[in-house]
């Protein structure tokens, strides 16, 4: 019987082995790279999470929650306001003669420029004395407590 040429067999085996090795390398690299990317992203989030700060938050009569904040050297894109862990659906963001409704979920949200103070106003119940406010940015959040004044 005439067998497969040894060259052919060796070649086939070599091809198969290289293909398998390449596949394993590619697969492993993808895993490592994904971890790397995640680590970098997390590291960047440390920075982005501090990209805005709340200067004051209070409840002014009649039933309006006021949050005053400021951005730093990076722009910040507020997405939503949570009041007492519930999504506030009727908040307005004001900065630099600009008004934006929150939450904003569009693909092209309006960012707040660097070094800019902003004010967010949300309606709350008129009897509300205290509120726990969470402002969610792209890549971060800021938390404050608000008490009623006036």
């Amino acid at each position: 019987m005439r067998g497969v040429s040894e060259y052919t067999a060796t070649l086939i085996v070599a091809i198969i082995t290289l293909a398998a090795g390449a596949a394993i390398f590619i697969y492993s690299y993808a895993i490592v790279d994904s971890y790397y990317s995640a680590l970098l992203r997390a590291s960047e989030e440390v920075e982005q999470g501090s990209s805005a700060a709340i200067l004051a938050s209070y409840i002014a009569l009649p039933g309006t929650l006021v949050v005053i904040g400021s951005t730093g050297s990076s722009p910040a894109t507020p997405r939503a306001v949570y009041i007492n862990e519930s999504l506030a659906t009727a908040c307005s963001l004001y900065f630099n003669n600009t008004s934006v409704s929150l939450p904003q979920s569009s693909a092209t949200p309006t960012p707040i420029p660097p070094y800019t103070a902003f004010v967010i106003k949300c309606p709350v119940g008129s009897a509300t004395e205290h509120a726990f406010v969470k402002l969610v940015f792209d890549g971060g959040e800021a938390i404050a407590k608000a008490g009623r004044i006036g």
Partner: protein, 874 residues
């Protein structure tokens, strides 16, 4: 053939395959090696990045924690103060101020340039442009208009890359905001010292008088003289001597004898006179001049039987009338050689009841020659002046005669005679006119009353008991007023006789006036004056009496107005002044007193007030503390000149118990009251800047100032001065002090040069450190219960438990004994004198003194809690 060797070709192929296989295995191994190298590199890079991020975040947090920020509100502006104590520049990104009404002010880059007063490390600008970099170890002060609203929170966002927000805010929403308000005082020179407490304000106060003015006065005569205006006596004798000049005896044995008062005439009948009796008579013919006269004599029987009395002889001395007391106890009128030729005839007789031959009887008779008769009116009196008998008779015979010679007669008896008078007026009485309601007394030489009469403008005093008063030369007339006070006295230069007339003449006129002026609430008077204004219509002398003491005597003519000081010896403990004016003149006058007032200068209970004493320039001013805390400007109630400059080496204190002001300077401790300064002691003195003095009971504690390390105490009750060593503490130019109970509380430097708050109990001499003071210097200090207030004059230095910082002037409060001071108010409006700033606490207000103002700071309760500063970092 069965076994065949492998062909060489086969071996070659196997070798090639082996080589290929080895190469493949090598390639696979290299792939794995490359994979691990790449993977590790990725992981290392990622780890370094993560570490870098974490490190940056940590550094930012550390930077932020070194940035201190506080804010304050002065009533119109919000002042945000920030200090960058980090090692890198931070960026102020945004400012947010929230007001009590819910509104807010936000500033960031988007606002561009806004109006604000910005000071970075001493450089000021009127524009604020964010973001604003603050270099390391620099401070930033931003003053923004509060727009009439009351801020409750002020926050600043700063970036230290990555962004962090620093929020300076009050803890609560409703905050009582301290306000500082300046009361202009215009210090004439730098330097001030203060004291606050109960003080007596030297005051001039007018007394209340009982009477209203003007008062119209009319003078009254006060000094009288008595003059004799008439004498009825033709002749008189008290028979003090014998023979009586001008008398002649006809018969009888006449001699001098002892009588009722003084001497008397003794006559013994020897039947040698007319009618067989004996006469002794005034040898002057009265018949040509008088047809009617009164004759009186006092007589007493010595011995014999017959009669004795008055004889009236005719010019030829061959006829007589005799009005006599007969030894039978009768008064009888006889004629001789009238009704019966050359014989006696009794014309009338009347019995004398209770007659005693041992008694003296006064015979008073009046004869009056009428056309057809000679009428006799006869009265007999005893020695008490009581009329015991009387009769009236007439001689109508043609041989009747007008009596020419009048004398005495004895017939058959020996008798004594006194008080003989021949008078044209009724000798029984002395008439005194000019009386004004008093009474008159006629007194004999023994001081016994001869007669008296009261009331009436003109009175007749009966002197019938002693018609020739006394012994004829030494009687007196005294006139008394209705109060029984002697008004005038007449001492006879010759004698007082019945029938005399006297008049009382005013010699001096006077108007007097009294009023009582009362000063109320007197504590101590240092001087007092009587303000007097009056007008007289003639020249007078004025005597002014205060509480019975003659204060001044002046000649006053016309208008008079003056303020007359009351001698200091009358002021001791006095507050009621009885003021009496006495004006005198030689003629009647009128006075109009338009003003009579007493004013006193001194201390009064209703002028002991809460006072703020401010020593500046060269004087000490007394301010009303109650008014000071509400007034926009205030005039001092009183100024005291000190003659020395308040330059930090001179200080004042006040003793509220005895109202004495003390001042210490380089010469000693001086005490002041409105009379002036006096050296209290030179045993305690100031030695340099920072000198202080405090009063605790009888102790005067002197903190001598830089560079001393002791407290000098002068015990005024024992008059001794001694030093209390402070050991590790020393005074310096920023020493401040106050009194707390029996202790003095003061700031001093400790052995390391730090400022401490310490106390010294002057009763036990115990020194105690109360607190470490976070100040580089403390100029003013006040104690209110358990709190100590300090006005600082520089940066404070942090201590445990006080996580705040500030620059400028701050006032701190501390619980005594607890070394934890907290800011209660930022009074950055104060312009410092440094060593000479002061603070006093009064009710709910702090009163500070700076270079140009008294600064009044209203403080609410728990204010120090309200102003606590919180720092947040995200």
């Amino acid at each position: 053939m069965g076994v065949r060797l492998l062909p060489k070709q086969v071996e070659l192929a196997r070798g090639i395959s082996a080589v290929i296989g080895a190469a493949i295995l090598l390639a696979v191994m290299m792939l794995f090696a490359a994979f691990y190298i790449v993977a590790l590199d990725k992981l290392a890079t990622a780890s370094q990045e993560a570490l870098k991020r974490v490190s940056e975040a940590g550094a930012s947090t550390a930077t932020l924690s070194s940035v201190k920020a506080v804010w304050s509100y002065d009533g119109s502006n919000v002042v945000i103060h920030m200090e960058n104590q980090a090692t890198k520049t931070v960026l102020v990104v945004a400012i947010a101020i929230v007001y009590a009404d819910g509104s807010y002010t936000v500033a960031s880059r988007a606002n561009g340039s806004i109006q604000a007063f910005v000071v970075i490390d001493g450089t000021a600008t009127n524009k604020l442009q964010l973001p604003l970099g603050v270099p390391p170890a620099k401070s930033l002060t931003i003053t923004m208009d509060a727009e009439g609203k009351r801020p409750i929170s002020a926050s600043i966002a700063i970036e230290a890359s990555p962004v962090v927000a620093v929020v300076a805010a009050e803890k609560r929403g409703q905050v009582p905001v301290p306000t500082a308000r300046a009361v202009g005082i215009e210090l004439v020179a730098p330097g001030a010292t203060t004291w606050l407490g109960k003080a007596a304000i030297p005051t001039t106060k007018s007394g209340t008088t009982n009477k209203s003015y003007p008062q119209h006065l009319e003078s009254i005569p006060i000094d009288y003289t008595i003059a004799r205006t008439g004498r009825g006596a033709v002749t008189y004798t008290d028979f003090e001597v014998y023979p009586v000049p001008g008398w002649t005896a006809r018969g009888g044995v006449w001699s001098s004898a002892s009588g009722y008062k003084g001497g008397a005439l003794r006559g013994a009948d020897n039947n040698g006179g007319l009618g067989g009796a004996s006469q002794y008579y005034y040898n002057t013919d009265l018949s040509q001049q008088y047809s009617s006269l009164w004759v009186s004599a006092k007589t007493r029987l010595v011995s014999g039987v017959g009669f004795h009395g008055i004889a009236l002889l005719n010019g030829g001395r061959n006829r007589l009338y005799a009005i006599v007391v007969a030894t039978g106890g009768r008064v009888e009128v006889w004629s001789y050689n009238v009704e019966a030729r050359n014989g006696w005839q009794r014309l009338a007789q009347a019995t004398i009841p209770g007659y005693s031959s041992a008694n003296w009887y006064t015979i008073v008779t009046r004869y009056a020659v009428a056309q057809n008769a000679v009428n006799f009116y006869v009265y007999v009196y005893d020695t008490s002046g009581n009329q015991v008998a009387s009769l009236t008779t007439s001689s109508t015979h043609r041989r009747r005669f007008t009596p020419a010679y009048v004398g005495v007669i004895v017939d058959g008896v020996t008798a004594l005679f006194e008080d003989f008078i021949i008078s044209a007026a009724d000798p029984r009485y002395v008439t005194v006119s000019g009386l004004g309601g008093g009474y008159v007394v006629v007194i004999d030489n023994l001081g016994d009353t001869v007669g008296s009469a009261a009331n009436g403008a003109s009175v007749s005093v009966s002197v019938v008991s002693d018609i020739v008063v006394g012994t004829g030369v030494d009687g007196k007339i005294r006139v008394y007023d209705s109060n029984g006070d002697l008004v005038a006295e007449y001492v006879a230069s010759d004698c007082i006789l019945g029938g005399d007339s006297y008049a009382l003449y005013p010699r001096l006129y006077s108007a007097s006036f009294s009023d009582v002026a009362s000063l109320s609430n007197v504590v101590q008077l240092f001087s007092a004056n009587v303000s007097l204004s009056l007008t007289t219509n003639t020249s007078t002398t004025l005597d002014l009496y205060v509480n019975g003491t003659l204060v001044v005597s002046r000649d006053v003519s016309g208008g008079f107005s003056d303020s007359i000081p009351i001698p200091s010896n009358l002021l001791q403990g006095a507050q009621v002044f009885n003021v009496t004016l006495v004006l005198k003149a030689l003629s009647p006058f009128q006075v109009v007193v338009s003003v009579l007032q007493v004013s006193g200068f001194g201390y009064f209970e209703d002028h002991v007030i809460d006072a703020h004493l401010l020593g500046s320039g060269t004087e000490i001013r007394f301010y009303n503390a109650t008014e000071l805390i509400s007034a926009s400007s205030l005039e001092p109630l009183y100024n005291v000149s000190t003659y020395v400059q308040f330059n930090g080496s001179v200080a004042i204190a006040y003793n509220s118990t005895n109202y004495v002001l003390y001042m210490v300077n380089g010469s000693g401790v001086y005490a002041w009251n409105p009379l002036g300064w006096s050296l209290e002691t030179d045993g305690c003195r100031a030695v340099g800047p920072g000198a202080r003095v405090e009063v605790v009971e009888s102790f005067i504690a002197v903190l001598p100032g830089e560079p001393s390390s002791y407290v000098c105490v002068y015990d005024a009750s024992r008059d001794v001065a001694y030093n209390i060593s402070l050991a590790t503490y020393r005074f310096y130019r920023y020493t401040a002090s106050a009194v707390n109970g029996t202790s003095i509380v003061f700031t001093a430097l400790d052995s390391r040069g730090g400022v401490v708050l310490a106390s010294l109990d002057l009763l036990t001499n115990e020194t105690r450190q109360l607190a470490v003071v976070p100040l580089s210097c403390a100029a003013g200090l006040a104690v209110d219960g358990s709190r100590v207030y300090i006005v600082s004059c520089g940066l404070w230095r942090g201590i445990t438990g006080v996580d705040r910082s500030g620059i400028g002037v701050w006032i701190y409060s501390a619980r005594a004994g607890v070394s934890n001071l907290v800011i209660i108010a930022n009074t950055s409006a104060v312009r410092l004198l440094e060593c000479c700033d002061r603070v006093e606490v009064y009710r709910n207000t702090l009163i500070t003194v700076d270079a140009q103002n008294i600064l009044v700071i209203d403080r609410a309760s728990d204010l120090e809690e309200e102003k606590s500063v919180a720092i947040y970092a995200t």
